[in-house]
């Protein structure tokens, strides 16, 4: 983690809070955690002075995506439905980070329920890009990405179901890790799509990303889809076989994006890795599979919001049907409703086989294609997104164009693979471009070590 330069925890937290306020125009935070963060900094400084063990992140300020549960305050997922929701539990990822002494300074804005690729679809309004305020921050972890890019905090937590950490990382020039499915506990994180939801982080360096991921990773008895921690095992990165996914380097991809990714590939070659191009034509079908499978899972996961047990309830709703129907219509954002409706469509009788089952079969083909590719290559490389950050409002009239932003990030999600977004370069106008490093399940630490090796290379 960036050197504290002899500063106390209190000074670091005060600086982070001041920076958060200075950049208020970007609309990064849904709420600051000022009082509690300052009190915690004082406590950690006291423990340091007393010579106590304070952890690997002692006094480091961080930001938390608005969909992580923390009983100290509201967890809103940036949606009306949860505007007054006091989570009764602490997310395991948050607990592990805080047990190492990190200090949460605020909740970051996101697309409501993490449905989106621009952080425009939030009850708190859009979060602006760190390089160009007329552009989006990406999403759904847009607030977390901008908080790290503007150096308010050295790292922030996020969730990634189909690109929600990687794409905003790419749009703002920071590192963003979506781990192997099951690497980090999802306990206490607002559910979106259970077969691809992952918890990860955004950070300024590959080494910081590795540290935060290794702290969060590992089995959790509260989430039975967690794997043993594989971050602390030694990794081999001398002379790797790198496959460049040619299908994502041509038509439909911005030439400046291709250029930046090619520059990164040159660095990999210069570092002694063996690079070849690989064609995986099946991957272009992943987006259609994703937008069938994920809305189907969303329609189930979001059925819990009924206006009865917790969350928003419509005023003056009398009958049970009115409570359900109106609370859900008023409490969800348009994109939430769109996905619930698409999900129920692909699951409904008459369409189940043609859409849902077909998609899950194609998912098998995608996983097989990756498995075959990983017999020949250790790492696959492609851009994170087809272009740099787009303009605010650019995709308002065409939902499909917004979905197409996810074309390169959804394939690893469907296969449960680890994927890292690393800064690759900039466009002439100063927008950032990210490269995506993808590996077999469990190779997270190797991807991070490879990115660390290239990070300083010219």
């Amino acid at each position: 983690m960036k050197k504290s330069d002899g500063k106390s925890s209190l000074e670091r937290v005060k600086e982070a809070l001041a920076a958060a306020k200075k950049y208020e125009a970007y609309n990064i935070f849904t709420k600051l955690n000022e009082k509690k963060a300052l009190a915690r900094a004082v406590e950690i400084d006291r423990r340091i002075a007393a010579g106590e063990e304070v952890g690997r992140l002692a006094g480091v300020p961080y930001a938390l995506k608005d969909n992580f549960s923390d009983p100290d305050d509201l967890t809103m997922a940036s949606v009306e439905m949860l505007k007054n929701y006091h989570a009764p539990v602490t997310a395991t990822a948050v607990k592990r980070i805080e047990d190492e002494g990190a200090i949460m300074i605020g909740w970051t804005n996101m697309d409501a329920f993490a449905h989106g690729a621009s952080t425009e679809n939030s009850v708190f309004g859009v979060t602006l890009n760190s390089r160009d305020k007329t552009r989006v921050s990406g999403g759904s972890s847009g607030g977390s990405a901008v908080a790290v890019a503007l150096d308010i905090v050295p790292f922030a937590l996020g969730s990634d179901t189909g690109g929600s950490i990687r794409q905003p990382a790419s749009y703002n020039g920071v590192f963003g890790m979506k781990p192997t499915f099951g690497a980090v506990s999802r306990y206490g994180v607002v559910a979106m799509a259970s077969s691809t939801d992952t918890v990860g982080c955004l950070a300024q360096t590959a080494e910081d990303t590795r540290l935060v991921m290794s702290i969060m990773a590992g089995e959790d008895e509260k989430d039975h889809t967690t794997l043993p921690d594989f971050f602390d095992q030694p990794v081999e990165t001398s002379k790797l076989r790198v496959g460049v996914i040619g299908d994502f380097m041509g038509e439909g991809v911005d030439t400046e994006v291709v250029g930046a990714v090619k520059d990164y590939i040159k660095k990999l070659e210069k570092a002694g890795h063996e690079v070849a191009e690989v064609s995986l034509p099946i991957l272009k079908y992943a987006l259609a599979v994703y937008y069938i499978v994920v809305p189907a899972e969303i329609s189930s996961n979001l059925s819990r919001y009924d206006g009865i047990r917790y969350g928003y309830r419509a005023k003056d709703a009398k009958t049970l049907g009115e409570i359900y129907g109106r609370s859900r219509d008023e409490g969800f954002m348009p994109e939430n409703k769109r996905r619930i409706m698409i999900g129920n469509f692909v699951l409904s009788s008459g369409f189940f086989d043609a859409y849902y089952l077909k998609a899950q079969k194609v998912r098998t083909l995608i996983i097989k294609a990756y498995e075959e590719a990983f017999e020949k290559y250790d790492v696959l490389v492609c851009p994170v997104a087809p272009g740099p950050a787009f303009k605010v409002g650019e995709h308002d009239d065409d939902i499909l164009k917004l979905y197409l932003e996810d074309v390169m990030t959804t394939p690893p999600s469907l296969a449960g693979l680890p994927a890292l977004a690393a800064p690759a370069g900039e466009t002439k106008s100063g927008l950032t471009v990210g490269v995506q490093l993808i590996g077999p399940r469990g190779s997270d630490a190797r991807l991070l070590q490879l990115a660390a090796e290239i990070e300083g290379a010219k």
Partner: protein, 95 residues
């Protein structure tokens, strides 16, 4: 394929969403575009291909058959409900 107004209303009912008139027409148009995009999957032959519903490598995860105290108490959970009466979550009459 086209989606009829009846179908949108049926899906809204399945989704427990009381949609407005404006929402019904805009959702219908959006869904038609998205579902038309799905049709590209028909280019692929999936005969004899098994579907994959989840990617977690383990089949069963067991724990000891012991009661684990949930971290939140009854009062905290009840406090989340919009309407409570006599320590119970209140729902409208159903019958």
């Amino acid at each position: 394929m086209g989606i009829s107004r009846d179908e949108i209303e049926h899906l809204a009912e399945l989704s427990s969403l009381s949609l407005s008139e404006a929402e019904i027409s805009s959702l219908g148009a959006d869904m038609e575009r998205v579902i038309a995009y799905f049709d590209q999957l028909n280019e692929l032959d999936t005969t004899d291909v098994e579907p994959t519903f989840q990617v977690f490598p383990m089949e069963n995860v067991w724990r000891a058959d012991e009661v684990v105290q949930f971290e939140a108490g009854r009062a905290e959970l009840l406090a989340l409900a919009p309407e409570v009466k006599d320590d119970q979550i209140k729902v409208p009459r159903v019958l």
